[in-house]
Subunit: 379 residues, 4 copies
Amino acid sequence: MSDTYSPRPEHKFSFGLWTVGNRGRDPFGDVVRPTLAPNDAVALLGEIGAWGVNLHDNDLVPIDASPSDRDRIVREFKSACERHHIVVPMATVNLFYDPVFRDGAFTANDPQVRAYAVQKTLRAMDLGAELGAKIFVLWGGREGTETDAARRADEAVKRLREAVNYLCQYSIDRKYGFRFALEAKPNEPRGDIYMATTGNYLGLIPTLQYPDMVGVNPEVAHEQMAGLNFVHAVAQAWEAGKLFHIDLNDQVSGRYDQDFRFGSANPKSAFFLVKFLEDVKYDGPRHFDAHAYRTEDYEGVKQFARGCMRTYLILKEKAVRWNADAEITALVAANGSNAGLPARDALLAQNFDRTAIAATGLNYERLDQLTMEVLLGVR
Amino acid sequence: MSDTYSPRPEHKFSFGLWTVGNRGRDPFGDVVRPTLAPNDAVALLGEIGAWGVNLHDNDLVPIDASPSDRDRIVREFKSACERHHIVVPMATVNLFYDPVFRDGAFTANDPQVRAYAVQKTLRAMDLGAELGAKIFVLWGGREGTETDAARRADEAVKRLREAVNYLCQYSIDRKYGFRFALEAKPNEPRGDIYMATTGNYLGLIPTLQYPDMVGVNPEVAHEQMAGLNFVHAVAQAWEAGKLFHIDLNDQVSGRYDQDFRFGSANPKSAFFLVKFLEDVKYDGPRHFDAHAYRTEDYEGVKQFARGCMRTYLILKEKAVRWNADAEITALVAANGSNAGLPARDALLAQNFDRTAIAATGLNYERLDQLTMEVLLGVR
Amino acid sequence: MSDTYSPRPEHKFSFGLWTVGNRGRDPFGDVVRPTLAPNDAVALLGEIGAWGVNLHDNDLVPIDASPSDRDRIVREFKSACERHHIVVPMATVNLFYDPVFRDGAFTANDPQVRAYAVQKTLRAMDLGAELGAKIFVLWGGREGTETDAARRADEAVKRLREAVNYLCQYSIDRKYGFRFALEAKPNEPRGDIYMATTGNYLGLIPTLQYPDMVGVNPEVAHEQMAGLNFVHAVAQAWEAGKLFHIDLNDQVSGRYDQDFRFGSANPKSAFFLVKFLEDVKYDGPRHFDAHAYRTEDYEGVKQFARGCMRTYLILKEKAVRWNADAEITALVAANGSNAGLPARDALLAQNFDRTAIAATGLNYERLDQLTMEVLLGVR
Amino acid sequence: MSDTYSPRPEHKFSFGLWTVGNRGRDPFGDVVRPTLAPNDAVALLGEIGAWGVNLHDNDLVPIDASPSDRDRIVREFKSACERHHIVVPMATVNLFYDPVFRDGAFTANDPQVRAYAVQKTLRAMDLGAELGAKIFVLWGGREGTETDAARRADEAVKRLREAVNYLCQYSIDRKYGFRFALEAKPNEPRGDIYMATTGNYLGLIPTLQYPDMVGVNPEVAHEQMAGLNFVHAVAQAWEAGKLFHIDLNDQVSGRYDQDFRFGSANPKSAFFLVKFLEDVKYDGPRHFDAHAYRTEDYEGVKQFARGCMRTYLILKEKAVRWNADAEITALVAANGSNAGLPARDALLAQNFDRTAIAATGLNYERLDQLTMEVLLGVR
């Protein structure tokens, strides 16, 4: 039974295999849910109305699978995707789980590790391409340190650049057509992770060999862990033409990576995010990189995943309402304008009456209260 | 009486007028120290052995000064600088104190405010050039929001770009030869400030009209407020050729802007910072953007300022010692190397023994403990 | 024109003189609003429908007022309160603004400062009693350090205890009938403030001479600055019979003290707070210790103050709705019960089937999603 | 070969089995070190010069061990302890790893879980008593929520109190003589953990049935996760006679639980902590609740553990040096005194010259700089 808040394919809601398949292991506790086979995850996503599924190489293919096992697994997975009308918009590579990556992957001190990490990524690109993905996400979860005695941080930047250039060349050579989306995170599992924020990656990209092929994949939780305003980071990426993908979830600031259900920690910032994405007509996937509480069974996992999509759609409707609210619109219009700067000599000659300009209130308290009332559904 | 830790001009230690002149006002309390006239601040800096002084326009010239007053003030200030052998390596503009900037300066919604902000900056550039400064810092303290209802964040980026382009053009036209250093901060005094981290500015710069003229001015406290590893941000900026200036102080994470004496909150991260700057032979100013505790009189202010420089020099000596320590050197050498990646086909054909690679410990606990012992002076 | 969300006296909404009278000064900027005389603040509060006003001694009476000036000011203020039907439920003392308190008040190292702080508080108690206040709040904003070299932290605890005991004795002697409410804060304006959380004060109170006279005044922003769950702190205080007062506002974690409009930073935690206060029938004042954005004039200040109350009432209605929601009620009922523990020997003999107990999901994702939908007004 | 910084039994350095036995599993990665059998851990601790070992029940005895297996394991462990001259000063219980505790233990909604948690703790107390432990630590890692819809927070307090009372009664009945040490943590693995700070437990204890039997076990990392000053919390606990145990490690604020080597993240706060413990002659165990980086093998684990003890002893020597430094001593003496407050009438009659009192600086910048120089070994 469908309603306004029911997901449809055009909403482009996707989930990682690792999200609905998360088994609830944490630093202090064991797994609480049985393994969910990838094909069963796809079935679950089909059931709840998702559009796409994303994956790390090893979410689907075990790290030591033989080539024939690998091929069979991929074939069956593609078949499951077709059966459940699920696409694979994005693929990525796991460079963090295996002990070999304990000191990093592309930035590890050991050249063998760096080479292996790149080789593993090339194969993950082969896999992603085979599954039809056009976006390739790189999250360097182990690219960091617990002590800066271990490595000069500028060396890490150089190694990272060398690796990303290598991957771009491979995509070109193989005609995969990938767009790479780099995902920042400030810490965890490393004490500090290089490229701590989306901004750091926006700074790295112009120094790459193929900057046009590379953008960012901002994640709500990762930016909010550092207490940063996520919408501002997304807006800068968007304005630079670099918003290639987005990871939606929720997070309380200054804590471990929580990956909560979208909108469940702070619905106000989630509202501004949805409003921004819809206002600018972002047309990429809305990927939920979150997982269910450890208190849940797979029925709860479905509730979790449904909740992510439903909350997005609730907030989307509120964004429409906000844009249509006459009082809000009037307050915003009274706010100012985008008029450009005067020419230099005119500007230098101008006299400004600072006191007069500063005398009138800007009505932002009212504007924000109205926003809250739209959000809370009482307006 | 001089010793190893006494400041000398070649150390390029500079202080802002607003740092030694800070009067101890805070959100909950009144000023505790009398006004320190700019020329007296210069004398104080001369007395304690500093090399340079930096200033916002209104640190020296009152916002409503007449042209003739302005000229007299500048003349006397230059004379004081000469008398005390103090240079002015950097100038900046105050776009945050006056109520006119309560909603931003370059990004304010009111086009009048944006125009006034740019005009004020042009005049601050005139002032800086007259004083011999070659670096112009831009810190947009009011460029932000308390509610994102007030402004689309991508509009703010566009307005900021327009303003910086305008300033670059002016420097070119006037042949001032300025290099602009953009200074990020995540919040305070605004709820959220745009361009929250040094990374965000590194991302903005390549989108400017004159990217070569523009770099960053990372500040310890600003990056650490967000809990980010400052050395990593500095290293990325350095590697990109964008470390045009640096603001040294200290800060406990997740708090109000504390601007503590350099090295006094976390000597370990200060050590890695000094080591990085010295290892790469950064030759710009070491600017202390800090201030004395509110418990101090001007004798305490001198102690504070002396402590900033002395701690830098102590840590610099420890960096030399670290680099020369045979056990440390051996551990670092055993760590790995910068060997490049194999060519593609060779790489794809390679077999890696993950288990073998991951079997040996990396001795980072030992390396870090040795670092601590160098730092604590017991090695 | 009244509606469901209009404030009424029985809601016990109060504001500090310093909240609606906040002039927008911050560490980087000047005041933006003219002084609001206390009697005008009372008129403003009457106009917007508040019930009570609270004050620090010097919010009303200048620190150097003569006795006759003091008496006249108090007389006129009482008259204004009567005229506008505003009560004074709580009084407090300013031990943070004057430079004399730069190193603390009750915990300062200088015995003269400690004595003066207590004397000032006794007089503030006289004032509060004269105005009819029955709650006396103590916020030790300067009781802390920038360096722990300055004072042994256990000495600070002893000094604090001595002072509070002294004040209790005075209230008894003068038959003022005060209940003291101690207000914690982790930092700002000091680097670290002693008694950082509400919990620390709950730990101090049982060690006092008159523990029954002393409770706590938790503040949303102060607990959230440290990233703590405010509802948990309030619940512990309530359960211990120590919730003597409460300060409502909002705050993003890990930042400077923001004192935002109630519910405007995180409506979800505000919802759980209101629900708790209403569920347990807390009948003390709902005090808003917040202030308007610096972008506002006094029209905006009114909007701000109205918004605080209105949001409280919106959330109160949602709490009623949540409690009445059949699906929510069923999920909560299925959650478990308050059954006591078995007697020891029975317990030791019992066999538990851990696997069976852990097999069923707890439906907290569903429960939380329903909560969000009540909050967002779509249920 | 022994030196000043070599551990000796009188230093009372202890490690948990789970600390040196930590295998490096984290939320994003697999174990990196093989299992270290408890008896081998004891041998390792003997080798590096530790005094004691602590344990959760299941660190030693598997959760499903038969009684006879349990007895054999315990017997062999005691023998290993004797062989290596290691004592067991503290025991605790694991109420967080098994899925049965996914919604809490003492505070779980399911009465069966609460009962099982208490039963498991009684047996862990039997085990601890058998091993000679006199301190029993309770860390309620799962006592919390991801959504406050799940449970009223005051109910959690009541359940916690019931459980602790039950355990105290059991210790009395069995004549175990345990002192219980309650360990706070703000979050992780739960979204929010009840009793977030040491202060919260200091507030709970006076409401228990046997308050004298119960104290606290503050942990550096847990208090610093919330950005709180750890020394202040320890000092309050000490002053209240409640410092029954302490967990030493290190942690960067506002992050996941890092459990770094003692003193390695912030040596300055570690210095003030060691100085406090030594100044007040704390004579309980110095327990290191930390673990080696994931980059290490067991040689690195030993380096890690040695580093914890060595850094403690280095800082202890610096505390002696600080106390003996004539300039420091003079500055502290000039600081003020512990003189008590004047009697009421005398106090009310006193005139204070605020301006004069506030005119002189307090030399805290100098005092802190000298502290840094002692810490850095250049004084």
